[in-house]
């Protein structure tokens, strides 16, 4: 009678399978790490809020000096030139609006939305972006323009009191919005 003895102590085959397994795990883990890094760094930084903030500060700095402004600015026709703003190449990406409101009788609703009418308004940029802010009055959406609003108290040269509201809008969704 032929007899075959199986020796289970011979683990050469098992070791080979185990090393293949280890390589598979190594590739899976490496692939996972690569996927994580790629996903994290492939999405762009959204700096539109900062851009809007900077534009609003620049406009405030341009029209007000030491808490006062000159009311001749109401008739300024080239506010962008005066404030050294240049949207060349990005004409449809930016919009700003500066509203001058009388301090006495200035009204807000419960959501801090302005009810009063401005006595003067200056604006520049692509006006169609304004509708993006109206859409986002109750909820913010990532893939349309970002709206930054700043409001502060100021005086004209004769001491009349005003509230100045600066709205700056930045679209630039392709460069900033997550895919």
């Amino acid at each position: 009678m032929n007899t075959i003895k199986i020796s289970l102590k011979n683990k050469t085959g098992a070791d080979k399978i185990l090393s293949v397994y280890w390589f598979a795990i190594l590739f899976i883990v490496a692939g996972g790490v690569f996927a994580m890094v790629y996903m994290f760094y492939s999405s762009p930084y959204d700096v539109r809020d900062l851009e809007g903030d900077i534009m609003a500060n620049l406009l405030a700095d341009c029209i007000v000096d030491g808490g006062k402004f000159n009311s001749s600015i109401f008739n300024e026709e080239d506010i962008m030139g005066k404030c050294h703003l240049n949207f060349k190449g990005n004409e449809e990406e930016y919009y700003f609006e500066i509203g001058f409101y009388e301090f006495n009788g200035f009204n807000l609703d419960e959501n801090k939305k302005i009810l009063s009418e401005p006595i003067a308004k200056l604006s520049g940029g692509f006006v169609n972006l304004l509708s993006d802010c109206k859409i986002q009055e109750n909820k913010e959406y990532g893939k349309i323009s970002k709206c930054v609003e700043k409001r502060f108290y100021s005086l004209d040269e004769t001491g009349n009191q005003f509230i100045i509201n600066i709205l700056s809008i930045v679209r630039k969704t392709q460069q900033n919005a997550p895919r």
């Binding site: 996903m39 760094y41 809020d49 808490g67 509230i163």
Partner: protein
Amino acid sequence: MHHDKRQKPKVLVSSSMLGQTKGQVAETMTWVVATIIIIVILVISVYAASILSDAVKILSGSDSIPLRERGDFTGKESLLAILLTNSGEKKVFDQLNLDGKTDAFSDNLFDEVLKNSKDDFLSIDLSRDEFEASIGVGSNLILIEKVRINQDVSLELNLKILQYE
């Protein structure tokens, strides 16, 4: 009757060998479970990375730079305008410089300016000396902007942290 002389080989398996087979099965199952755990952790990590990449990368003035360091430019302009506002025959600045304290007009003006501001969590406070300022701007207030009126008195725009949070 034909007899096949070639007989099938007989495999001898001892009881100790059977025990080793069971051990191998157990070991294999351990690796299978370990593999599944590794893959699950990886999938969770990749998903978390995709969520974080959307959430963390939105930079705004309020989270990228601490307010204490950034300041508030328009807030500063408001403070300066308050100081230049005429309160009867004197400016608010003169009143604060003389008495070191607010009167009804300036208190009302502070309230109105804050009411009409964009943020609910700001406050305008008067500090009479550095010591008081350091105590006043303590656990629940962050100093954003400060206009010094004289050696002892400052007008400050503060952030109320409790309301903010």
